[in-house]
Symmetry: C2
Subunit: 196 residues, 2 copies
């Protein structure tokens, strides 16, 4: 299993946004839905060995975490609008203290980023940073958990929480890339290392 955790620093946590305005009114939700595309899509199939956590920390009902489970996903299409709709449906659900299912493979909970880190502690955490070890010189472990920000870096507090887990700091190349592009490059390296 490969897990990605992406923090949406302004991403809305209520379902009252317009699908025409995911970049503006929905707090750069466009960045996050592109991460969904990057995490799961192969040319003719879905990566069933991937789980993606979108930690939404904006809006009036924060925090919430939308979890996409590759092995169960249905109704996922590559375009931004339809994925935004899946997320909006999840945000429209009434959610209490337990995670609930919104649609096949899409779950919603009130987990915060520190809840996520707590849950993932003990797994091999990989923190994508420009000054990290080159991904090509790093043996990606099974059950890797890859942590990254949306269009903003992790806050000092978020970074401190990650660093407490003793993560591997990994760089993907000489240029700083969008989060969804980072996921593609990381997948390519892991695909090559596994030889799948």
């Amino acid at each position: 299993m490969i897990r990605f955790v992406v923090i949406g620093h302004r991403a809305v946590t209520t379902g009252d946004f317009k699908l025409d305005d995911i970049s503006g009114g929905a707090g750069r939700l466009d960045v996050l839905v592109r991460c969904v595309n990057s995490a799961f899509f192969l040319s003719h199939s879905i990566r069933t060995n991937v789980e993606l956590f979108l930690v939404l920390t904006g809006g009036s009902d924060a925090p919430k975490t939308v979890r996409f489970a590759g092995s169960e996903l249905k109704y996922l299409n590559p375009d931004e609008r339809s994925t935004s709709s899946l997320i909006r449906n999840a945000l429209l659900k009434k959610v209490g203290s337990e995670e609930i299912r919104s649609s096949p493979g899409v779950y919603i909970s009130r987990r915060s980023f520190s809840d996520m880190i707590e849950q993932l502690r003990g797994m091999p955490i990989i923190y994508l940073k420009e000054d990290g070890t080159d991904a090509r010189d790093f043996a990606f472990p099974d059950n890797a958990v890859i942590v990254l920000g949306d269009d903003r870096d992790l806050t000092e507090e978020e970074e401190a929480a990650v660093m407490k887990c003793g993560p591997s700091k990994i760089s993907l190349g000489p240029l700083s890339l969008h989060a969804d592009h980072c996921i593609i490059v990381a997948h390519n390296e892991m695909d090559r290392q596994r030889g799948t």
Copy 2:
């Protein structure tokens, strides 16, 4: 300069489509706008050394080619909807035998794929194919022209036209990827080779 040529096999050539329906009514224009994102966006800037040609071969006014020139681009945002709007504006222009400018860095012409190949002949053409040489074992030349299909492979006729140019057949990894993901992986390899 790095050039990408992407063939949109069903992509519309008139501007009368809805921005809410780029995957359906616009003939998988969503694939092409994701290629625009992949070709140009860095974390905090635009790749000014890139030119992207979207060859649209669907709809009632085919063929048309939309050219994005990285060094001149303005008003490009990463989300699918706004890029689709730039393309729609280009398709709404009345275009004769000459290429015309639609907006800063966005041009439209009636060039077909074979016109494009004719124009690019003599440049080092790279054809992305699963059975090609591994990109990591290939020295990407200056002025590379990278040719790829949208969600469909090149037709036999298109492939024959490319093969006449004596292209380098290059593979990006063990799995077959979406066109926009291929562009990301190719950029990463070229970035590393240039050490930029």
